[in-house]
Symmetry: C2
Subunit: 301 residues, 2 copies
């Protein structure tokens, strides 16, 4: 069984731990096969494959398969081959894409048809294994496609995604345990005023998606809770964001746990160039992805 | 000039200082006339008129008129007669309705056509005069009708309101300076986790309004930020809310600064009875309003 799952951007500015959106043209391919002996073996190829553990318990696809084998009482084992198309550790939901692909593949292979909630719960096991937190924003978007809103207890609302152009600029900076680091920058408590600001921006963004208002969507990429605290992870973040806005972006923020920076606008080629130039001013090379939201989530290929 | 402005419910659970919705069948009527001598005189009739100041600076309609006279350089004065249909001090946006009616009336009378932002800014002067905080959630809904989302700097998004039945139960409890008290119960800082919960619920509510999904709307009335802290203002709040949910309400929370409690569901007559009975168990009389969101805001009658 060969399955593809798209990359995703979580948070999208105001929707920390709530919003995710699947991306076109960037994703992982996963080949899953049944093997007679119990247990899960993992091999990884593709982008920065060396950086990804092949120990099944520490690999987001492997952890999902191990969990599925236990929960669903499977009498055999699995071998999984992950072909990374999503660059790991950059904020594009790399572990989420592999986890979503694994959850999708194993359910198809075993002929299971779990509820959406159970499906997402299963995929989230992969995030918990890798990132130490069972956040469901990336996996929901990778699994279901579209624009997703995560509620309590794996309850997810999925909307058709906005028809916007997205540019993602991935700076060449590296962190060990990046997701953990990104979370450690967030305080336990925040000002009520900051929370109200994000409630307002996130509500506008959700309404913009439902109304298919792409300008309102882009202008709702405003975040007073997370961005100011994670900006320090990304050298010259403020300059890069300003460059995006000056080049006509409706909005710009950090993709998930970073260090990727994404922007939404009409002319993403120009916006991307301006962002790359701003990183260059700081002596940082970066890579650009020109993409858009994807309606489709995990699927057999 | 005779103007009507509807009552409103602010916050609607998750959207503290962001959401407002105008209500049908409950509102203030305001009669505005020009008088030769400068200055603003106010008279108040209707519901609990005795509790409302007639000093123009302390009256939400009067403060708006005084401000308008100064800002727009009017060479005469105003007399305004407010006929209260919105019970004051209950969380139904009473001062906001009078302020919105005054802003609407004075602009019509003077032939002004301010931008939406300026219109809301003007109406908000009334809230600042009465409540000590220039919150725009109630006035926006009263002025524009429908479901409103307040952003920074009087920037308001208006959506057609959801087609739901709303029951509002107004317990017979009284507070001096109720809005100030309600705000004083809120801390300066809240847990990030609480904020994320409200970001999720508010986003769902905004999407539900845009999608016209009345069940999702009702089920999104979930608030971890404000409700737990203001619940102490309302004797037996938890029992009343549980009674509403047990009677089939999709959701139930405090209307604005309270002490009114509102619920959304199919059978609001039964839900309202259950809520009244729960207040009665605590020895508290209450009044019931069966209403629904109003598309129409302030208007000449």
């Amino acid at each position: 069984m060969e399955v593809y799952a798209p990359a995703s951007i979580a948070n999208l500015g105001p929707g920390f731990d709530v919003f995710g959106v699947a991306l076109d043209d960037v994703g992982d391919v996963l080949r899953l096969e049944v093997v007679p002996e119990r247990g899960v073996s993992v091999s990884v190829g593709g982008l920065e494959a060396d950086s990804i553990p092949v120990d099944a318990r520490a690999n987001s696809a492997g952890a999902v398969l191990q969990h599925a084998a236990e929960v669903y009482g499977v009498g055999h084992g699995f071998h999984v081959e992950v072909e990374k198309g999503v660059p790991p550790g950059k904020g594009l939901g790399s572990s989420g894409a592999s986890a979503a692909a694994a959850a999708y593949a194993v359910c198809r292979l075993l002929g299971l048809n779990p509820s959406r909630r159970e499906f997402i719960r299963l995929a989230t096991v992969g995030e918990a294994a890798v990132a130490g937190s069972a956040h469901a924003d990336n996996v929901s978007a990778s699994l279901l496609g579209g624009f997703t809103m995560v509620g309590n207890d794996y309850d997810v609302i999925r909307l058709e995604p906005p028809a916007v152009e997205i540019v993602v600029v991935v700076p060449d900076v590296h962190y060990e345990n990046k997701t953990r680091l990104a979370r450690s920058l967030l305080p336990e408590k925040v000002r009520l005023r900051e929370a109200v600001f994000n409630i307002g921006s996130a509500s506008r963004m959700a309404a913009a998606v439902a109304l298919r208002d792409t300008v309102l969507f882009g202008r709702s990429i405003c975040d007073n809770l997370v961005e100011p605290r994670r900006a320090r992870m990304i050298p010259h973040f403020r300059e890069v964001k300003q460059a995006a806005l000056d080049a006509g972006a409706y909005g710009c923020s950090i993709a998930g746990g970073g260090p990727s920076v994404f922007a939404v606008g009409e002319n993403t080629v120009e916006i991307g160039k301006a962002m790359v130039a701003a990183f260059e001013d700081a002596g940082i090379e970066s890579e650009v992805y020109l993409t858009r939201p994807s309606s489709e989530g995990a699927r057999v290929v």
